[in-house]
Symmetry: C2
Subunit: 836 residues, 2 copies
């Protein structure tokens, strides 16, 4: 349901945050929204993340530095225990902060909230990947001081962050002290060794650890370098963080170096003269490990820092710019709309780089590395929201993310045993591979995580043509997840014999533990088909890989037939009377929640109603069936999609930030253009507008990725659930054009959409086959322009007999077409048994 | 499902535990089963309970003294929180123990586990209400010592326990020390002030408190008396415990008195001569309160103890015997079977006295006061298992129990608000009236607690004719619970318009949060009807009471019609194909659990499978529909009952001890005589045979009460869901007779059943109307004997056209009959709309 109030398309104050297409800019600071701005101005590279805290400290909602995968474990104590409940809590650790430079002029500290600021500007540059701040401070003594600082987390050097802090007295001389620090600031109570538990009822927040997490193992310094090392109390993980400092100034100064267990300090005392700049550079390196001793990690820190000394800062700035140039070449979307909205679009896409770029062997947490909301866990949205973006823009990163999942395969096998099923069951939320969801009804019960991973694998293999991954880790995961479904479901002998899956929760968490959740069954069916297709393909094309697979997963050839049989027999609920796919067997029998008369302050419902109350109504937290309509687009006809959308939309609260972007895509497809735009804006402005009120906990990464998909798939009309890229554009009436880029099987293309035509340009690689509104094309050396007729009236044309992308014609026949292979991996071409 | 192995009808070793009809006897102690024997030999009166620990300490599984309602509270920390989850944990406190007498002869302690015992006998006397022990100990020095002790928790003096300890040297002289103690032994870690959490996964066990619970407020002693006082850390409750000691001996002795925060000691040092007995008496009083200061409680302790000094012990022994004589006159069941089984039957019934006799203003915990299993909470089984027994044997105690519930009405109203419903929602488990169930799926979701309470009220009012209670607290509770159902359910407009109740859990906890649980709907319908009947009756018969009610609960006259409409429209699930009442809307669609091939060590399932696994199968922890068939017997025909029983029996694990007794009743009714006996034995021997392996946690009080009902209702054939007592006996073939007593509207009758006839004798009060196999009788001054034809072949006769108690004839018509009123409160007589 679209909110009662329209989305504010300019949620930021133009004066304070002037619109800019390639930067987020703040013209004066405020204590009122520190939590949000810390998130908006965070810098990260997928491994290290630093919230946008000011260098001088104090004025913070939450000082946060996060290293991907660096976590503490703890025993989950269930108020009432039961067999198999998640036992090991996992919480991303707030690592020692290295961004601090305390500044004293005439012994008076600079503190933003109380300082007399003559000028102030903070900019996060999307093309440079640097956070810059410049301010002029009139000290209590009346002297004006220019302070310039920069902060960069490197995309090219995974473990590195570079900072500069430059101070110039504009009037008069003064003693200046600059204290650069690395601080481990755990807010525990030293006496009892425990922290006060947070009493917050919001289950989305990090409940907080109640013990000292980082045990000091090392603190070392020399005149130019300091290193601190820690081991984590329960998880045993290790961390070393080090910093090199350098000062450039013509003023006289002395230096003091000092490290203790929880602090490293480099203090400069400077006899500053007017107009003589003081420039301090600080290179910081973080290294973490599951098990390597701190001493070894400190050596790695040294090596990273030594390289910076050799190469100099400028080399890394250049590399950062070059990296981002390539990034934008493959990922930018130009929507031809307002500067503010374009800024929001690029900010979202920039966050995707910050979340994923150097995740490398780690996963992609729900908040990236910009906050510890959801305890830094990896969820399904990694595969359903993030990875498909990576697949179509930076396939090598998609591969990393999927390979990361495969490192959890053994844990998933073990968890499946514990849950009394065969195969592998991936954890609903996790850092280390163990299930960490303490509330099974909206956690472990979301078995669809297995199918979501399979979906991402299928999508990646199909779009990238990566045979090595497909026949290796990919196949293993497909086999083990398929096995899980076969064992979880059962054949129900009723009027017809159907394969049913009971006792699961779909993506919508306002209905839990149901029978035959449509999303789950649709996705499980796809999982089973992908597995069978993959195994059969390997057997035919790559006997060595096949034999290796058979051996590794102890594959019985009969299994493949079982998967196919279960897929064919899979029950997909359909309600003849309503003409829709019910969310589950019992969904439409429930009472309908009266959203019209639910007061605004009662949202999100989960914070105002007991789960039992929410569960007994027809009310959705987020798209569920509607999400399946998009992910498995070619299994549903347009009429079906429209009926489902029309049924679910009025009862979908959008209390989850994952919802709006997907509703935008289907709204666009089925003809609700205004609604599609509204939903798109809702998704786009989740963080920039803090529309969910919790941006302070970190960036909504999935929503940001969904924003890209809403642009490319919703308005660009891309459907990618078949073996080729298919387009049926839906350019919003008010937009002049839409330009985006896609990667496909080693090639890259640019897509430029206007009201009258869609133009494809091959940027690199082989010619790319694709379809536009059912017609096949090959994009070769010359740009390909396809005229789009009746752009303004596409709805009526589609609603009559216009063939729909990969779907069905009105007469019910499937649209299928032979497509030239461009890789030695092709996609399943069997006909689908249909949606009912 | 009857277990694979037949119930062992003699689970106790005849040598160690010789059968006896009126006592439980132990001929030698064992360390192997301390937990069980402590429970079996516990002494209690419904207010104070003491586990059967030996006086000398040490040899204990769990030293336990419990005072009804005396509890600590604690904040429930949910691993993942949500709105409205139970917040306040409540745990029955292990109160200071007063049963200890340490004995030293020649400075050598008597410790049962290592003592050289020449003789030993321990007896729990069901007619005297005294636990006696006698032993002869050969000391390490070779001297034989006779030790006799007794322990009695008084049924007549609620706060009192009496103990004696008598020592006689049989050979030679020796210095003897006897140290009588009151000990507060909290097993917390003094250094950290915390206890180690119990890591047990069994949700039925008390998770234990992790802090010091009792704060010492007072310790005082004089030469004859000691008093300790405490306040509970969080709940603020207070307790005072005191003891008077007296010694009788012709030996020389000295005394030492001493109290500290956690201990009171009375030490006798005796120069004992051979053959000169030393007799020590110890009177102990416990007083507790929600808020009264310890000083005031200590005064109450003094008054209790002063009375004992005045009256002497013997007066209390006599009163105890007299009380139990009356108890057995109203509650005894003589089954004419083996001594062992008769012993078990009387042990069970004795436990009911121990659990309820002096609960007075408190509730009846699931384990009585014999252990802290289930944290000492009050559950629904109080109303469904215990109160009906009390109603038919000791109506004044039933009234107390129901009045106790009414003291929670305000909390229940508040909880209903929190759960977004009108009226009142009683807590699934509680001590102080607040919901303490941390696992809502098998807790708060059991909304049927409201209907269970209404059922017990209806049953009590109908059987007792207690107009004052009916028109006062009873009516209020019926109104508020009816309101809850109206608001919880909704009208579903489908083929027919039905009133449906979604998102609830029935008694069977192996299926949770379902739509239209048959048990719940049947009982909710009865709740609604009872409320409407009660209000209409008051309006007609007692305008003053009616006006008071209307004012108190703000009753809108239209509400009554709403209740009636909802009751008439209530959906009672029925599966035409299977011809049964499905447990809920989705139940029969689920996969059937293969119990035949489930290994014995995988029971109970809840300790070996994740809830999600259990929930997706057709498998029952306990009778659900089958329980409704008994409680609302006259709403179902015999064929329906048999079909339901036959469907559910093979998939019912009986993992709950509440199950067997109810299965026994319906098995008997529908003609499975052997099975009925097997289930009855299962229920009967739950504790005597420790068949669930957790008797050490305390007596299964509901099962003990169910044992009485299985005898009276299962074999005696009593149905009491109509306004008169109805009988259709099912005497087991092997039993010679069955004799039991019933209270009915101020009268008492004895029922004597043999193979050929059933005889009723009026013990006191007015003539009693009743029905035997559909024929009406009035039991007056002379015994009434009714011949029973074809006793051996009742099944076939019933299965054809024999009218069934209050049920339907084969042609589907309801059996109804006008019954003479014997009280000014009569029961609803409207026809029921039927079971489908």
């Amino acid at each position: 349901m679209i909110g009662k109030e329209k989305v504010n398309l300019n949620p930021l104050d133009d004066h304070r945050f002037p619109p800019h297409e390639w930067a987020l800019i703040e013209n004066y600071p405020s204590s009122a929204d520190l939590g949000q701005t810390e998130t908006l101005f965070a810098t990260a590279n997928g491994y290290i993340g630093m919230r946008g805290n000011p260098e001088e400290g104090r004025d913070s909602h939450h000082v946060g530095t996060f290293i991907n995968g660096f976590h503490e474990t703890w025993d989950i104590r269930h108020a009432e225990n039961a067999y198999g409940l998640a036992r090991t809590g996992q919480t991303l650790i707030n690592a020692p902060s290295s961004l601090m430079f305390r500044l004293y002029v005439d012994d008076e500290p600079l503190l933003l909230s109380i300082a007399d600021l003559q000028a102030y500007e903070r900019r996060l540059e999307f093309r440079e990947g640097v956070l810059r701040r410049e301010l002029i401070w009139r000290t209590p003594a009346g002297k004006r001081v220019l302070v310039r600082s920069t902060r960069m987390v490197s995309f090219t050097e995974r473990h590195l962050a570079l900072m500069t802090y430059e101070v110039t007295l504009l009037e008069g001389d003064a003693p200046i002290v600059i204290s650069s620090q690395i601080v481990n600031k755990e807010d525990f109570d030293d006496v009892a060794g425990r922290r006060a538990p947070r009493s917050d009822e919001d289950p989305r927040k990090n409940p907080g650890l109640d013990h000292r997490v980082l045990r000091p193992e090392m603190s070392w310094h020399s005149p130019r370098r300091m290193i601190l090392g820690y081991q984590v109390a329960n998880s045993g993980m290790t961390l070393a963080v080090g910093a090199d400092h350098r000062i450039e100034t013509s003023n006289l100064f002395t230096e003091l170096d000092d490290t203790t267990d929880d602090q490293g300090r480099k203090v400069y005392r400077i006899a500053a003269k007017q107009g003589q700049p003081i420039m301090i550079t600080k290179a910081v390196a973080y290294h973490t490990s599951r098990s390597v001793p701190v001493r070894e990690l400190s050596d790695r820190v040294r090596r990273t820092l030594d390289r910076v000394r050799e190469n100099g800062f400028e080399a890394y700035y250049q590399a950062q710019r070059a990296w981002l140039t390539r990034f934008w070449e493959s990922s930018d979307v130009d929507a031809g709309t307002t500067q503010r909205l374009q800024q929001a679009i690029r900010w979202c896409i920039f966050q995707l780089a910050q979340a994923a770029a150097r995740a490398d062997g780690a996963g992609i947490p729900a908040k990236g590395l910009t906050g510890d909301g959801y305890e830094g866990h990896y969820f399904w949205d990694s595969e359903v929201y993030m990875v498909p973006f990576l697949t179509l823009t930076a396939p090598e990163q998609a591969r990393n993310a999927l390979r990361f999942r495969s490192t959890h395969l053994d844990s998933a096998r073990e968890r499946a045993r514990e849950m009394s099923t065969k195969g592998a069951l991936f954890p609903w939320r996790t850092i280390n591979g163990e299930e960490a969801s303490a509330y099974y009804a909206a956690g472990t019960a979301q078995y669809h995580i297995d199918a979501d991973i399979a979906y991402a694998i299928g999508h990646y293999v199909s779009m990238s043509g990566d045979r090595e991954f497909a026949f290796g880790d990919g196949a293993q995961m497909l086999v083990e997840t398929a096995r899980m479904w076969v064992d979880l479901g059962f054949w129900r002998v009723n009027a017809a014999e159907t394969f049913e899956i009971h006792g699961v929760t779909g993506p919508d968490e306002y209905t839990t533990v149901v029978n035959n959740n449509t999303y789950t069954n649709v996705m499980a069916r796809w999982n089973l088909r992908l597995a069978s297709w993959m195994v059969r393909r390997m057997e035919a094309d790559s006997p060595d890989d096949y034999r290796r697979l058979v051996h590794t997963v102890q594959l019985d050839p009969d299994e493949v037939e079982t998967w196919e049989r279960c897929a064919s027999g899979m029950k997909i609920p359909f309600d003849e009377r309503l003409g829709i796919h019910p969310q589950d067997d019992a969904f439409v029998a429930k009472e309908v929640w009266d959203l019209e008369n639910t007061p605004q302050e009662s949202y999100p419902l989960l914070l105002h109603y007991h789960p039992l109350v929410i569960y007994r109504f027809q009310v959705l937290k987020q798209a569920d069936v509607v999400l399946a309509l998009f992910l498995r687009s070619n299994e549903f006809g347009l009429e079906e999609k429209r009926a489902d959308f029309e049924y679910y939309d009025p009862i979908t609260t959008g209390d989850s930030s994952l919802s709006a972007v997907m509703q935008a895509i289907i709204a666009a497809e089925v003809g609700y253009q205004d609604m599609a735009l509204e939903y798109f804006y809702e998704g786009l402005l989740v963080d920039i507008g803090d529309t969910h009120g919790n941006t302070s906990d970190g960036v909504h990464v999935a929503s940001a990725a969904g924003t890209w998909r809403a642009l490319v798939c919703g308005f660009g009309g891309l459907r990618d659930d078949d073996e080729v890229l298919c387009f049926d554009p839906r350019l919003p009436r008010k937009w002049g054009h839409l330009t985006f880029r896609l990667a496909y099987r080693g090639s890259r293309i640019k897509v430029h959409l206007t009201r009258r035509q869609i133009t494809f340009t091959l940027l690199s690689g082989h010619p790319v086959p694709l379809r536009v509104r059912g017609t096949e094309y090959l994009v070769g050396a010359d740009p390909l322009a396809v005229r789009l007729s009746h752009q303004g009236a596409y709805l009526s044309s589609l609603a009559s007999s216009h063939p729909v992308i990969g779907g069905r014609r009105k007469d019910g026949t499937l649209i299928t077409a032979e497509v030239p292979e461009v890789s030695d991996v092709e996609f399943p071409t069997e006909e689908f048994s249909g949606a009912t």
